[in-house]
Symmetry: C2
Subunit: 345 residues, 2 copies
Amino acid sequence: MKKKIGTQSFILPSCPRIVSSGVFVGPKEGEGPLGRLFDTVVKDDTLGLDSFEQAESRMLESSVRLALSKIGCSPADADLFMGGDLLSQIISAGFAARELRTPFLGMYGACSTMAESLITASMLTDGGFSELSVCGASSHFSSSEREFRYPLEMGTQTTPTSQRTVTGAGAVAVASEGRKLPGSGYSTVRITGGTVGRVCDYGITDASNMGAAMAPAAASTICAHLDDRELPPEHYSRIFTGDLGSFGSELLYELCLSKGYDISRVHEDCGCMIFSPEQKVVCGGSGCGCCASVLCAEILPGLESGKYERVLFVATGALLSPISALQGESIPAVAHAAVLERMEA
Amino acid sequence: MKKKIGTQSFILPSCPRIVSSGVFVGPKEGEGPLGRLFDTVVKDDTLGLDSFEQAESRMLESSVRLALSKIGCSPADADLFMGGDLLSQIISAGFAARELRTPFLGMYGACSTMAESLITASMLTDGGFSELSVCGASSHFSSSEREFRYPLEMGTQTTPTSQRTVTGAGAVAVASEGRKLPGSGYSTVRITGGTVGRVCDYGITDASNMGAAMAPAAASTICAHLDDRELPPEHYSRIFTGDLGSFGSELLYELCLSKGYDISRVHEDCGCMIFSPEQKVVCGGSGCGCCASVLCAEILPGLESGKYERVLFVATGALLSPISALQGESIPAVAHAAVLERMEA
C-alpha cells in the first residue's frame, strides 16, 4: 500500500492509537482559559529545584511518567521516547531521557517538536518498529527568555509582536493496534496521517516576532497538506496551529488565501487559546510547551469526547539560535502536521 | 513480521539500500590518514563565508547535494532530509534544510546524530514512508570549541583526555528496493537493522573528557545489540564507534568485558582513525562530523569493495550543553547502532 501521498504527506493505514497524554504547566498557564483542563498546574515554576532548566526537564519527565501511568505503564514498558525542547542541545529532553531510561530519539524542530515527534513515532508504529512509544516536548518561560532574548533581571519591555513562552510540558503515548494495555486511556483517538514540513524563510530577523517568522512555514505545510490530500479546509473540524499568536495568525490567513484556501473559519491557534487578553501576554503564548500543553489538555480530550471529529494539528518552529540571531541571520521556520481523528472502537 | 527484537533492537526486513554518500572535511582532516578518501577537502575552513557557523552549514548542505548528485538526483527528488549537528538549535542543519527545501526532520543526538538519523530514515523507508531520503551530520572545530569550551582566541591548552572536534560533514542517501535512480552509486550496501540507545550517565562532569562520558553509552548499546540479537562480537567484520578516542576506547573494552563481551579484536573508533598521532590531537577526533566523515570515506566504500562484510556502526553522543556544563551537571550520553551489510545484488 502506498503510504506517501503527494510531495510531503503520508497516510498511516494502521491508524495508530493515541492512548494517553500527560501535561504539566506553570502558574500563569494555570490561570488562563484552559487552566482547569491541565493535569497538573505547578505552584512554583522552579519545582523547588536549583535552576529553571532543571525544572523544565523535570516537568517533561513527569508528563511522560503521567501519560504512561494513566494506561498502567511505566517508562520501562515503552519502546521509544521521542521528543525535544527549545534549549541548546535539547537538555530538557536529554536529562529527562536519562531518568526515564526509555530508548531515546532526540528530535529538534523548535516549537514544531511535538508534531515532529508525534508523526515520526506514528510512522515508526505503523512501520512495525514500536508497539508503545511516548512523545514529549517542553518549554519554560524563564529558561527560554534567557536562552533566546535577554536576562530576566533586565526587566526588558515586550514589543507589540512578542509572545510569552509557555511554561509547560506535554507527553502523548502512541500505541499499535495490537498492543494490550493494562489501563484505559483514550479509546477513540487515532493518528491517520500527516505532512512533513519544508523550511521556509521570509527574511524576518526580529526574535520578538516569531509569528511572522513562522506563518509562512505554517501556510506552506497546511496548503501542501490540503493539496496532497485534495481536501478543503472544512474537511477538518479544526486546524490548530502551534503558536503563531494573533499577529502570526492574521498573516497565516493571508498567505493561505493567496494559495486559494480560506482557513479562517476552521482555524485556531494554541498560542491564542492558552492565555486570555487580560493576562497581558501581547500576541499570545509560544514555545514547544504551548501546543504540547493544548494538545494534551484540549485537543485530544476534545476528540475523545466528540467535540471534534477530525483535527489537523500543525506545530510551527522557528529555527533560530542565540548565535544565529547575534550574527544577523534571518529566522527560518518549519511546520509539521498530524491528522488526528475520532474513530469509534 | 516482527521487526522489534529484544528490548532495543530492530531488523529491517526490506533491507533498505545505502546508495550514495558525500563528505566534505577541513584541511587538518585532509592531512590525516584518511585524507585521500574524502570527496572534498576544503582549503579554507571558513569557505570564504562570514562565520564558522555559516561554513559548517554550507559543508552540510554541500555534502547532501553531492550525495544526491552521485545518483543523478537533486534535493527536490528526496522525500526526506534528516539530520543535525552540535550547535545550539542545530542551526547548521536548519539553515542547510532552508537551502535544500527537502522536507526536513531535525534530529539531535549530539555526536550520535548520524546513526540516529540513519536508523530513523531506514525505519521510515522500511515502513513505506520514504523511497529516497538523505541523512546528514556535521561539526566544525571552530564553531564547536567556542560553543562548548573556550573562545579560540584564548589559546587554551588541551588536557590529556581532550579530543579535537572534526571539521566535516557527511551525508548518506537511503533508498527503498523499488526506487529507480538515474545514476549509480553503491550497489551492494544495505542497512539491515539497528539498536536505539538508552541515555547513560556515569557522573563525568569534565567537558574535556568526552570519551569517558560516552563510553558507558557505547557499551550499553553494543551489549544490548549483541544480547538482543544473540550474536558474538565477531559476527561483525568491525564494530565502529563514533568518537570515543583512545582513552574512551579503553574504557569501552573494560565495560564490555564486564558484561561478557570482548570486542577489542573487532573494534575501531572513528575518532582514532581520522587523525594520526603526529597531528597532536591528544585522544583523537570527535564531533558529529567525525563518524559521519569516516562512514562516508572509509566504511561505506569498504563495504562496497568487499573489505568489510558486515559492520556495526555505533555513534555516541554526549548530551551536555554549555548551560548544563556551567550549572555543574554531569554529562549524559547516548549511542545508536546501525547494522550495515554487504549484499550482492
